[in-house]
């Protein structure tokens, strides 16, 4: 068992689970989507991205790419949330909530791809 692999797998899976936790629920209902969960998902996703830095293999490159996609989507979701809560003045309407959640849904897809790659990589190793 390799501690590095444990940490790596932990962050990738955690990024996906947190993202999923934020995503589930009625898409337009702010009460179903906790902003702390979005924050946690974003931070874990950023850490997962940095962990993937510097891997020169092909699979490492795809890992990094999916992670960057997830970051981008989550940052967009967070910005939308900040814009809705503070700048529009009308707070989290169901329309704005739907936007944030659908953006995080895109990130979820990227995170799922990341997890699939992780599984595929593990199976390929046969150890």
């Amino acid at each position: 068992m390799n501690l590095e692999k444990v940490i790596f797998g932990f962050f990738i899976v955690l990024a996906a689970t947190l993202n999923f936790g934020f995503f589930v629920g009625d898409i337009g209902d702010p009460a179903h989507h906790d902003v702390y969960e979005l924050f946690a998902a974003l931070v874990v996703s950023l850490i997962a991205t940095v962990l993937k830095f510097g891997d020169r293999t092909q699979i490492g490159a795809v890992h990094l790419a999916t992670s960057l996609v997830a970051d981008l989507q989550l940052i967009a979701a967070a910005l939308t949330w900040g814009y809705a809560a503070h700048i529009t003045g009308s707070g989290m309407t169901s329309e704005m909530t739907a936007r944030v959640v659908s953006l995080s849904g895109g990130a979820l897809f990227a995170n799922v791809v990341s997890v699939i790659i992780l599984i595929a990589e593990t199976i390929m190793q046969r150890r």
Partner: protein, 589 residues
């Protein structure tokens, strides 16, 4: 022979980015965690708003506050005055963020000072510079004295050069020497084929490889890499030992240059036919230098001091010209052909014993510059009329060698450089020089007299032209139409056709005929002819204009200016329909 060093793996140029990212992984994660913890804490800690109501900072405000605090910008702007709990937490955050930034910046600066990274960056810069070269360039391996001479000459001739050199300080010198064009240089081992490839061995603009290091084995490695990776490129390799030269020849290295053997040939030629020797020196000198008219080496008894690599070649050269020899060496051999004297040539005793008073020439050919100078000075003192051939081993001693006026100073690096330039610049020169060696003294004297009277003793430009569609489109089209053009007609100035162009044809090669030396001016040219020309630099450009430009060629041949452009061509054809030859093949058909 030096033991082979282990080849260090090359810093891969494309790995810089990954190297930086991998090293920054830990500090970046620390930074993300610190900011996340600070923001998260700030959203949880209760505060009070302006009305005294309990409230909490939202993520937006918390992130805003941490952003300006952590980056030490420190705006005072906050939505509400902080509560005591919040102040406590912010104090903690401030110290935390300072640690985070200090760690990150420290890592970044350590990374920038990292030797591996700097090498990788240099490598990348070099690779990019080479990749962007669009002009023809030569790959020069080894920037010693020879490499420096060659780079200078290439620069003067308008070619680019790429240098690989093992010694970092010599690479640094390249920046100090003023070259007209930028010379990309890399500190690396040229024996590594990867290095050669990065330096442009397989680049399509690379026109030749020169292995000029002072290590025969390295030159051998370069030769074999060039043979396998770029078989079409001419490779010029310096080899000072016979075994390495034979090894290079075995896999088909086209040009192997042994400076000592080359000098042996020159000296034999000089003894055999001084005019041919002068002609050769004049044609193959460093561009821009002037050939000093040497005293001709006399025939009679010669003394050779030192029977090493150089001495042995000298003995062979003298033997081929049937010159009687006395050899001074520390360990004489039993050899009935020559007289041997035991001792050091530096002492007057040994020289007297060798008969320096009656000898006509002396070769000071030991491996030590100081000994050679000492021999020469002592011998001159004993016999002032002595013809002195001095071997100079190290370029740094050149002031001493200049001060002693020897008849010939043998500088291996110069010999190699001259030979390289002659081979590269003008492939026809080698067969011409071989031809000269076959001719008699009288003929060579005539050629030398004729050329130097016209062009002076300064080393001329020597170049080749081939009459084909690519090199000389204008002339080629005319010849293919069956027109008769002689050499005399062609060698006129395109500015004024009554003035002769400042160049002469030395040698003409035609596919199925014997080559002609100094062809007469009424010789009719044919497509596919190869010419070796000698002349001043300006003449080359003018001749190139005549050969490639239809208008210039028409003027030189007929004295009429061709009208340029379709309208003028049309008008002039209407005015005098027979006068102007059609401009190109398409209009004829």
């Amino acid at each position: 022979m030096k033991p082979a060093r282990a080849l260090a793996p090359l810093p891969r140029h494309h790995s810089i980015f990954f190297l930086i990212m991998r090293r920054l992984r830990a500090p970046l994660i620390v930074l993300i965690v610190i900011i996340a913890v600070s923001v998260f804490g700030l959203t949880l800690i209760p505060g009070v708003d302006a009305d005294g109501q309990p409230t909490r900072l939202s993520f937006f405000h918390a992130f805003y506050f941490i952003s300006y605090t952590a980056t030490t910008i420190g705006f005072g702007e906050i939505p509400h005055a902080f509560s005591e709990q919040q102040r406590l937490w912010v104090m903690f955050c401030i110290y935390l963020s300072v640690i985070g930034w200090a760690y990150t910046l420290g890592t970044v600066f350590a990374l920038l000072g990292d030797r591996n990274l700097q090498q990788a960056i240099q490598m990348q810069r070099f690779v990019r510079a080479v990749r962007r070269l669009r002009e023809p360039f030569y790959l020069v391996c080894g920037y010693g004295e020879t490499g420096r001479l060659i780079c200078r000459a290439l620069d003067r001739l308008g070619y680019r050069a790429v240098v690989i050199e093992l010694d970092e300080s010599k690479v640094g010198e390249i920046d100090l020497h003023t070259y007209a064009a930028d010379v990309p240089a890399l500190t690396a081992d040229a024996r590594n084929p990867e290095t050669l490839e990065f330096a442009g061995l397989t680049h399509r603009s690379c026109v030749g490889v020169m292995a000029l290091t002072n290590d025969d084995n390295a030159n051998l490695a370069i030769a074999i890499a060039a043979r396998l990776l770029a078989p079409h490129l001419p490779a010029l390799c310096r080899a000072e030992s016979a075994e390495v030269a034979a090894n290079m020849a075995s896999f088909g290295t086209r040009h192997i240059i042994n400076p000592f053997e080359k000098f042996g040939e020159y000296l034999a030629l000089a003894l055999h036919s001084p005019a041919a020797w002068h002609l050769l020196a004049w044609l193959t000198g460093q561009p821009g230098s002037t050939v000093i008219h040497h005293r001709n080496p006399p025939r009679g008894r010669w003394i050779i001091c030192g029977h090493g690599r150089f001495g042995r070649v000298m003995v062979d050269a003298m033997k081929s010209q049937a010159v009687p020899l006395t050899i001074i060496d520390r360990s004489p051999r039993q050899d009935p052909e020559h007289t041997w004297v035991q001792g050091e040539g530096t002492g007057a005793d040994a020289l007297r014993q060798a008969g320096v008073g009656e000898a006509v020439g002396i070769v000071a050919g030991t491996g030590s510059d100081v000994d050679n100078l000492s021999i020469a000075v002592t011998a001159r003192a004993l016999n002032p009329r002595l013809y002195v051939v001095l071997r100079q081993n190290h370029y740094t001693n050149h002031a001493l060698f200049d001060a002693f006026e020897s008849d010939i100073t043998v500088v291996p690096s110069e010999i190699v450089a001259n030979e390289c330039l002659a081979i590269l610049g003008t492939p026809l020169l080698a067969p011409f020089l071989a031809e000269i060696r076959q001719r008699d003294e009288e003929w060579c004297a005539w050629v030398l007299e004729r050329m130097t009277r016209r062009f002076g003793w300064e080393v001329p430009r020597v170049w080749s032209e081939r009459i084909n569609l690519v090199r000389t489109p204008a002339l080629y089209r005319r010849l293919m139409r069956g027109e008769r053009v002689t050499l005399g007609m062609l060698l006129c100035s395109p500015g004024n056709r009554y003035e002769a162009l400042g160049c002469e044809v030395l040698y003409l090669r035609r596919d199925d005929e014997a080559p002609r030396l100094i062809p007469a001016s009424d010789l009719v040219l044919q497509p596919g002819d190869e010419l070796l020309l000698v002349g001043r630099g300006g003449a080359r450009a003018e001749l190139a204009l005549t050969l490639t430009n239809e208008h210039a060629l028409n003027y030189v041949l007929t004295g009429e200016d061709l009208p340029g452009g379709l309208v003028w061509e049309y008008l002039s054809r209407r005015r005098k329909p027979h006068a102007t030859p059609s401009k190109s093949g398409e209009q004829e058909t």
